[in-house]
C-alpha cells in the first residue's frame, strides 16, 4: 500500500513540535518515545504499520483544541483515533503525523430518559454506552461486533453498523449531535437533543467522514427502551440460492426482523469447530431474530418458519429459552475469532442488492478456485452487507498480495451488481484506490471539495478515503506551503 512520503521538514522539527504540544496537555498525555508510539502504529488492519511522530491523549475538548491549534500552525498532519479497531486502516498514522487518541475521554456527560438521549465523550466504548443505561432497561442500538472495544468516536467516523441495524439503523440514524474540533482548533457544535438539522445536514456529512473533517469529542446519542424480549430462529438450507430466496420472502411478507444473519458452509464449519454451537452441517445457515412480548415473538416466528418451510430447510430450530438463544448466536458471534484460529484472513465488507445474493455468492466461489484461496461468507443478509473472509497465509510470500487482489475483485463485483465497496467498515487506506470503480472523477471531486471546506490544508487523517492520485494536487499544495 502506497503512502505519501513523510514531510522531512516536519520530521526534522520533531523536538520543537513536541515542546509546543507539551504546553497543551499534562505530561502523561503526550507520548513521543519511539518504543511507546509503536503501540499506535496500526489499527485492526495489522498488515500496515507506521509509528507516528507523537501521540496525545487529551482529556477534554479544550485540550483537543489546543493540540489542533499547534498542529495547524506547524502544518503537522493529525490522525484521530478511537480504540484502533478499524478494519480499513482508517487510523493508520503517517510518520510525520500526530495521533490524537480520545480513549481517555470516556465520561457520560448527561443521561436523560425523558428525552431519550445520552451525551458522552466519544472515547467511551460502544458497549459501555448501553452499559450506562441498561440498569434502567434502555440501550444504544448500533451494535458492531467489536462493541466491547470500539469507541463512539470511531463509530461516528465510520458510520458503523451492527447485527441489529435492519430495524434500528446504523450510527447516522442514532446520532443527534456532536461537538467537533476543526483542524484550526475552532470548536463546532451541531445538533443536540432536538431532531434534524436547522440548516444543511452537516451532522450527516460528519458521520462517516473517517476523521477527515474534524476531531469529534462529544456526542448526543438516541437511546431506546429495550424490547420485552427477543428470540432467534436458526434455519439450515442445502443451497445458498434457497437461503437467499428465503430472506427475500421473509422481507416481502412484511415481517421486519431485527436481524437476519447468513453463514455459508466454510464459515459454519469453522465456527462449529471453534465454538461448538451445535450448528447443522449444511450449505447455508440463517439466523433470524425477532423482538417483542412472548406472544408477539411467537406470532412473528410462526410466520417466518412457515416461509422457511416452503423452502425445504434441512434444519429449523427455534430457541425455546435464553440458553438456546445464546447457543444460536454463539457461533455467529465467534465467527471472526473462529476464522482467525484456522488462518490469517482478510475481512471484506461490500454491500449488494439482496436480490443479487445467489449470483454474487456463486461468483465468489468461482473466483476462490481461480485464486486458490478459500473464502468463508458471513453477513447481514437483510441489508445485503456481505463479509467475505478470505483466508491466506501471512508467512507465505506473495499470499497477502494475492489475497488483496482477490478482495479487490470481489469488491468490484459488488459495485458491478449495483452495490458498493463498503457497507460499514469504511474506506480507510484499504479501499482508497478502489474508489474510482464506484465513483467517477467528478463524484470524487465533489467529496474532496467538502474536505476543502472543513480542512483547507488537508491535514486531517492524510491518505485515507481518496485515491492518492486524486488527492495529490491538494496534498502537494499543502507540502509546498511549508
Amino acid at each position: 500500500m502506497e503512502m505519501p512520503v513523510p514531510n522531512p521538514a516536519i520530521l526534522a522539527r520533531k523536538e520543537a513540535i513536541i515542546a509546543k504540544l507539551r504546553g497543551c496537555v499534562p505530561t502523561d498525555a503526550l507520548i513521543w518515545d519511539e518504543m511507546e508510539t509503536r503501540a499506535y502504529e496500526c489499527d485492526a488492519l495489522t498488515a500496515y504499520r507506521c509509528a507516528p511522530l507523537a501521540v496525545v491523549l487529551p482529556a477534554t475538548t479544550e485540550e483537543v483544541s489546543a493540540v489542533l491549534k499547534v498542529c495547524h500552525a506547524e502544518g503537522v498532519p493529525v490522525v484521530p483515533r478511537g480504540s484502533g479497531t478499524s478494519l480499513a486502516g482508517g487510523a493508520l498514522p503517517t510518520a510525520d503525523s500526530v495521533v490524537i487518541g480520545v480513549s481517555r475521554m470516556n465520561a457520560v456527560l448527561e443521561t436523560d430518559y425523558d428525552n431519550r438521549i445520552i451525551r458522552v465523550q466519544t472515547g467511551r466504548t460502544n458497549l459501555s454506552v448501553t452499559g450506562a443505561v441498561e440498569q434502567d432497561d434502555f440501550f444504544y442500538a448500533p451494535d458492531p461486533s467489536s462493541q466491547l472495544a470500539c469507541a463512539i468516536a470511531g463509530n461516528i467516523a465510520m458510520n458503523s453498523g451492527g447485527a441489529h441495524c435492519l430495524k434500528y439503523g446504523v450510527t447516522t440514524n442514532n446520532l443527534m449531535g456532536v461537538t467537533m474540533v476543526m483542524m484550526d482548533g475552532t470548536v463546532f457544535e451541531i445538533g443536540g437533543a432536538h431532531l434534524d438539522a436547522a440548516g444543511l445536514d452537516l451532522l450527516g456529512v460528519i458521520c462517516g467522514s473517517e476523521g477527515q473533517l474534524g476531531v469529534v469529542t462529544e456526542a448526543t446519542l438516541r437511546i431506546l427502551h429495550k424490547p420485552e424480549g427477543a428470540r432467534p430462529v436458526l434455519m439450515g438450507f442445502d443451497s445458498n440460492e434457497v437461503a437467499g430466496e428465503c430472506v427475500s420472502d421473509i422481507i416481502k411478507a412484511g415481517v421486519l426482523p431485527v436481524a437476519i444473519e447468513f453463514m455459508d458452509r466454510p464459515c459454519i464449519e469453522a465456527c462449529e469447530a471453534f465454538a461448538k454451537a451445535g450448528y447443522p452441517m449444511c450449505e447455508a445457515l440463517l439466523i433470524v431474530e425477532v423482538e417483542g412480548s412472548e406472544a408477539e415473538i411467537a406470532e412473528q416466528l410462526a410466520l417466518i418458519t412457515d416461509i422457511a418451510k416452503r423452502h425445504n430447510p434441512v434444519e429449523l430450530r427455534e430457541a425455546k429459552d435464553a440458553d438456546e438463544a445464546g447457543r444460536i448466536w454463539l457461533g455467529r458471534k465467534s465467527a471472526f475469532g473462529a476464522m482467525g484460529q484456522i488462518n490469517d484472513y482478510m475481512c471484506l465488507d461490500g454491500t449488494i442488492p439482496v436480490s443479487s445474493l445467489p449470483f454474487v455468492l456463486r461468483r465468489i466461489g468461482e473466483m476462490s478456485k481461480e485464486y486458490g484461496l478459500d473464502v468463508a461468507n458471513v453477513f447481514h443478509a437483510g441489508d445485503g452487507n456481505m463479509h467475505p473472509l478470505i483466508l491466506f497465509n501471512a508467512n507465505k510470500p506473495g499470499d497477502l498480495e494475492l489475497c488483496e487482489a482477490f478482495g479487490a475483485d470481489i469488491l468490484k463485483l459488488c459495485v458491478e451488481v449495483g452495490g458498493c465497496l463498503t457497507g460499514e467498515h469504511g474506506v480507510g487506506i484499504e479501499k482508497r484506490d478502489l474508489m474510482a470503480h464506484q465513483y467517477r472523477p467528478e463524484d470524487l471531486e465533489v467529496q474532496m471539495a467538502v474536505k476543502d471546506v472543513f480542512d483547507p490544508a488537508w491535514l486531517l487523517n492524510p491518505a485515507k478515503v481518496f485515491p492518492l492520485a486524486a488527492s495529490e494536487g491538494r496534498r502537494v499544495v499543502q507540502v509546498a506551503a511549508e
Partner: protein, 374 residues
C-alpha cells in the same frame, strides 16, 4: 424551463445567465422568496427501479409522490417517514414530487420512531451549480463508501444542486394500527405522558398532543402499528400505563389514519389566519417554549420534539423565545414577513461559515435558489 432529461437540465444550468428558482411540484413554498428564472423538475419522471424483496425504490426527482406511493402500496410497502403534504397548510395546489420532498427533508409523525426522510435516502443524482451531473450513495441499504453527500442534499432546498434522481429504502406496511387517546391532559402532563409512551418497550410509531382537539378539548394520541395481535396487545398495555386517566383506544383503520393525517399536515391551522412556525426542540422544553411564544394555538408532534405554532402575522417568534436549544422555521408567512425575518434559524458563526463554504463550492456562481435558506 421544464427539462425532460437530466442532460437537458445540466445544459440549462450550465448556460444560466442568472439566478434560478427551482421548483418540483411547487407545493412546498418554504424559505425566503427567491427572485430568479423558474426551473421546474416536473418533467423528470418515472420510477426507474423497484425491488420489493430488496426494500429499494429509485425514482426520478419529478415523479409525483402519489405515483411512488401507489407503486409501493401495490406491494404492501411504503415510505416509512410519512411525508407531510404541505398543500393545505400553505394554500397551494400542484403535485408534490419526490425531489421536492427530498430537498426539504419532509417527514411526518413516524419520524420519532422510524427516522426522517434523510434516513431513508440511499442515493442521489443531482446537477450542481456549474451544470455538472453528480452522484453519491447508491441503491443499497448499507453504504459508507466515501462521504455521505446524500444526507447533505436532503434538506438543502436546492441550494447545493438540483436533484434528478433519488433512491429510497422502503419498508413493509403494517397489517394493523391503533391509536390510544388520552383526554384532557395539560400540556406539561401531555409531554410527560408522551415521554412515558416513547420510553416504553411498546414501539410506538407516533405521539402527538392537540391542546385543542377536534371537539375543542385537549387530546393526546399514541399510535402503534404492526400485526393485528401485537397491535391489540401493545395498545392495551399502553392504555394500562395511563389507567386513572380518561383513555380510549381507536382501532378503526380509517379513523386512525385520518387522525394522524390531521397531525401530519397540521390541519388545525389550514383555515386559521396567522403565520405558522415549526419548532424543533428537546421535548421536555416544549411546554415552556409554547407558553413563552404567545402562540394562538399549538400542535405537539414527536412527543413534543416538534411543535407547530400558529402566531399572529409578522411576529418575531425567536425574539419572544430568547435563546433556546433547537431551531425555529417560519413555514407559513406572507412575503413581507419572510423577507423581514430569517425563515430558517440563524446559524452560529463557525456553522454558518461551513455552510457558506459548501454552497460556494457546490454552486460557485450562487445561482441555485440563492438566499432561500436565509
Amino acid at each position: 424551463m421544464r427539462p425532460e432529461t437530466e442532460a437537458d437540465l445540466a445544459e440549462i444550468i450550465k448556460g444560466a445567465a442568472g439566478p434560478l428558482r427551482i421548483q418540483g411540484g411547487g407545493t412546498r413554498d418554504i424559505g425566503k422568496p427567491v427572485d430568479g428564472a423558474l426551473l421546474q423538475t416536473g418533467g423528470l419522471t418515472g420510477v426507474t427501479l423497484y425491488e420489493p424483496g430488496s426494500l429499494t425504490l429509485v425514482a426520478r426527482a419529478g415523479t409525483p409522490l402519489a405515483e411512488v406511493e401507489a407503486v409501493l402500496d401495490a406491494e404492501g410497502q411504503r415510505l416509512p417517514f410519512e411525508p407531510m403534504d404541505h398543500r393545505g397548510l400553505l394554500g397551494r395546489d400542484g403535485v408534490p414530487t419526490v425531489g421536492g420532498m427530498a430537498a426539504s427533508n419532509v417527514s411526518g409523525p413516524r419520524r420519532i420512531q422510524s427516522g426522517a426522510c434523510r434516513d431513508y435516502m440511499l442515493g442521489v443524482r443531482f446537477v450542481d451549480g456549474a451544470g455538472t451531473v453528480l452522484s453519491n450513495g447508491g441503491r443499497v441499504m448499507k453504504n459508507v463508501t466515501g462521504y455521505d453527500l446524500v444526507k447533505l442534499m436532503a434538506g438543502s432546498y436546492g441550494t447545493l444542486g438540483v436533484l434528478t434522481e433519488v433512491s429510497f429504502k422502503v419498508l413493509p406496511k403494517p397489517e394493523a394500527s391503533a391509536c390510544v387517546l388520552i383526554n384532557d391532559l395539560s400540556e406539561t402532563e401531555a409531554v410527560e405522558a408522551m415521554s412515558r409512551a416513547l420510553g416504553s418497550p411498546f414501539d410506538v410509531s407516533g405521539v402527538a398532543h392537540l391542546p385543542v382537539g377536534v371537539d375543542g378539548a385537549p387530546v393526546t394520541m399514541i399510535r402503534v402499528e404492526g400485526f393485528a395481535e401485537s397491535v391489540r396487545y401493545r395498545s392495551g398495555r399502553l392504555a394500562a400505563l395511563f389507567a386513572g386517566r380518561d383513555v380510549t383506544v381507536e382501532t378503526d383503520p380509517e379513523r386512525v389514519a385520518a387522525g394522524w393525517r390531521y397531525v401530519r399536515d397540521a390541519e388545525p391551522f389550514h383555515a386559521a389566519p396567522g403565520d405558522v412556525w415549526r419548532l424543533s426542540v428537546k421535548p421536555s422544553d416544549a411546554p415552556g417554549l409554547v407558553a413563552a411564544s404567545g402562540a394562538l394555538q399549538a400542535i405537539y408532534d414527536w412527543g413534543g420534539g416538534l411543535v407547530w405554532l400558529l402566531m399572529p402575522v409578522a411576529s418575531d417568534l425567536r425574539a419572544r423565545l430568547g435563546g433556546f436549544a433547537g431551531h425555529a422555521t417560519l413555514v407559513r408567512g406572507n412575503e413581507d414577513t419572510r423577507r423581514a425575518l430569517p425563515v430558517f434559524q440563524p446559524e452560529p458563526g463557525p456553522v454558518a461559515a461551513i455552510s457558506a463554504g459548501l454552497r460556494a463550492r457546490f454552486d460557485p456562481r450562487g445561482i441555485l435558489n440563492p438566499g432561500i435558506m436565509g
